[in-house]
Amino acid sequence: MCLAVPGRVLGIEERDGTRMATVDFGGVVKEVCLEYLPDLKVGEYAIVHVGFALQRVDEESALRTLELFENLGLLQEEFGDPWEQAAQADAGPAGEVRR
C-alpha cells in the first residue's frame, strides 16, 4: 500500500511557511516536507512517502535487527530464539508491543 523509502537529510529550510528538507536517497535528491517530523535533523534518516517524511529511521533498531538475523541459527541451538530473548531483555522498539 505505501511505497516509502529511507533517505538522509542534507539540509532544511522554510519555504512558503512550510518546513522542507533536501533528502538524499542513495544518490537521488528530492525535496521533502518535514511538517510531520519537525525535529528531524540534518544527517538523520527518515522514511519518506509521496514527498513527506513520516517517521525517523532508528539506526540502533536497524542494526540490532540485522545482528539478530546474523545470529539466527547460531545462537539458537544453544540459547533459544534470539528474538524472543531480545524482546525479553529489551521491551523497547524491538520488543513486543506493550498493551
Binding site: 500500500m1 505505501c2 529511507p6 512550510t18 536497524a62 523497547g92 513486543e96
Partner: protein
C-alpha cells in the same frame, strides 16, 4: 541504498528461511495486508521459497485497486470538465472506471497530470489561479496525512481553486472485516509497516485479542517479510496471538503524533466501499465539516453518480482466501488484467492477476522452488 540493501541480503534470507522451516509443523494461512508487501513477495519470489505449509493470502491493501468504481467514475467526470486540472498519483491513471480510465480522459483533451507529491498539486493550483485544480486523494493511513496537508495549507493560504476528491481507507476495519467472515481462513496477519509508522500499533492489540490472531507489524524489504512470517509462524506454533513489532526501525508504538493530529483535524471516519468487496463500516475517511469546502464531490456536484460493482466479480472471496482465482467463472474470460472486474485483477500483484500470469507460464498455482524450470545459470560456464 542504506536501510534497503542490507535488508535484501540473500545469506540472511536463507537463515530466516531455515528458521521458518525449522519452526513450522503444520499448515498456516497468513495474510499480508499491504499491496507493497505483496509486491516484494512476488518480485523476489518469496512465496516460492517458503515451506509449503506457509500459505500467503494477499490482502486488500493496494489503495489504488480497492478504490471503488463509483469514485473512479466521479474522478473521470470531474477530469473531463473544461477548466479542470486533475492531478493524480501515476498508478491511478490506469485503473478502469466504467468503460474508460484517466488516460482516455487525457486522450480526449482532459488536463490530467501525474504528480509525485500531493504538494505538487497544490503548487499547480497556486500557479493556475484561473483553473480548478483537483487532487485525487486516495490511499491508506500512510498517504492520508500528506493528502490532508494540501487542504490544510489551501485553507491556511486561502487557495480557493483547489479541492480534494477523497477516497481514503483504513486498515483495522479491513482486518476486522476479513476476520468476521464466517469462512475466514486467515490465521495471522503481517500488518502494514508504513501504516503503523503513522498510526502506531495501539489499534491492534484489541483485534489480536478479539479474534485470537497474531498480528506482526512488518516492513517491506525481503528480510522484513521473512521476519514477519517467521514471527507469525512462531506465535501460531506456540498458540499465541500477540501484537509484535518486527519493523522497529520505522515503527514506534505511538506512530507519528503530528500526522495523527492532522488526520483528526482534516478527516472524519465514514463508511467506505472497497472495490470488489463492498462497503465496510467505518473503513474510510472523508473531509471533516470545516474542510467541506475543499471536497471535490461537493464542488463539482458528482454526488449523484452511483455505479454498481459488477455482480459476477468474486474478488471479496479471493481476498479472503476462500476462492482460488481460477475457480471464478469470470476468470480469464470476462475478467483479465486488461479488462478487470475487481481489485484482485486490477492490481498487477493481485491474486487473480498473478494466477493469470502464472498459468501462462504453466506453473502450479503456488510454484515450489523445485517446480520452477530450473535455469542452470549458477553452474554454467560460457564456452
Amino acid at each position: 541504498m542504506k536501510y534497503v540493501d542490507e535488508f535484501q541480503d540473500p545469506d540472511l534470507a536463507a537463515r530466516l528461511l531455515d528458521d521458518i522451516r525449522a519452526a513450522v509443523t503444520r499448515p498456516w494461512a497468513l495474510m499480508e495486508v499491504c499491496g507493497g508487501q505483496t509486491h516484494t513477495i512476488i518480485r523476489h519470489g518469496i512465496d516460492q521459497l517458503l515451506p509449503d505449509e506457509v500459505e500467503l493470502i494477499h490482502g486488500p491493501g493496494c489503495p489504488v485497486c480497492v478504490t471503488p468504481l463509483e469514485v473512479i467514475d466521479k474522478a473521470l467526470e470531474i477530469a473531463s470538465r473544461p477548466g479542470v486540472i486533475f492531478c493524480s498519483f501515476g498508478d491511478m491513471l490506469r485503473v478502469p472506471g466504467t468503460g474508460r480510465d484517466l488516460f482516455q480522459v487525457r486522450g480526449a483533451g482532459g488536463d490530467v497530470r501525474v504528480v509525485y507529491s500531493p504538494l505538487d498539486a497544490l503548487r499547480i493550483a497556486r500557479e493556475n489561479p484561473d483553473r480548478e485544480v483537483v487532487f485525487f486523494g486516495i490511499g491508506f493511513e500512510t498517504t492520508a496525512p500528506p493528502n490532508a496537508m494540501t487542504v490544510y495549507q489551501a485553507r491556511k493560504h486561502d487557495i480557493r481553486n483547489f479541492s480534494l476528491l477523497v477516497s481514503h481507507v483504513r486498515v483495522p476495519p479491513a482486518i476486522e472485516a476479513v476476520m468476521q467472515s464466517p469462512d475466514c481462513r486467515v490465521q495471522g496477519f503481517l500488518a502494514a509497516g508504513h501504516v503503523c509508522s503513522v498510526m502506531g500499533t495501539r489499534e491492534y492489540p484489541a483485534l489480536a485479542e478479539r479474534y485470537r490472531v497474531p498480528i506482526v507489524v512488518t516492513g517491506f524489504e525481503p528480510l522484513d517479510i521473512l521476519e514477519g512470517v517467521r514471527r507469525t509462524v512462531r506465535q501460531l506454533e506456540r498458540g499465541e496471538h500477540s501484537v509484535v513489532n518486527a519493523y522497529p526501525r520505522a515503527v514506534r508504538d505511538e506512530g507519528n503524533p503530528a500526522a495523527r493530529a492532522m488526520l483528526d483535524d482534516v478527516f472524519e471516519v465514514t463508511d467506505r466501499a472497497w472495490r470488489g468487496i463492498g462497503v465496510i463500516a467505518d473503513s474510510g475517511w472523508r473531509l471533516s465539516e470545516r474542510y467541506r469546502a475543499y471536497d471535490a464531490e461537493h464542488r463539482f456536484q458528482v454526488g449523484d453518480i452511483a455505479t454498481r460493482e459488477p455482480a459476477e466479480c468474486r474478488s471479496g472471496e479471493v481476498l479472503q482466501g476462500l476462492l482460488k482465482p481460477h475457480e471464478c467463472e469470470a476468470f480469464g474470460t470476462t475478467c483479465t488484467p486488461r479488462t478487470p472486474l475487481g481489485a484482485t485483477m486490477v492490481s498487477s500483484e493481485g491474486a487473480c492477476a498473478a494466477y493469470f500470469l502464472y498459468r501462462r507460464l504453466d506453473l502450479p498455482a503456488r510454484p515450489t522452488a523445485a517446480a520452477v524450470p530450473g535455469p542452470s545459470l549458477e553452474d554454467s560456464t560460457v564456452g
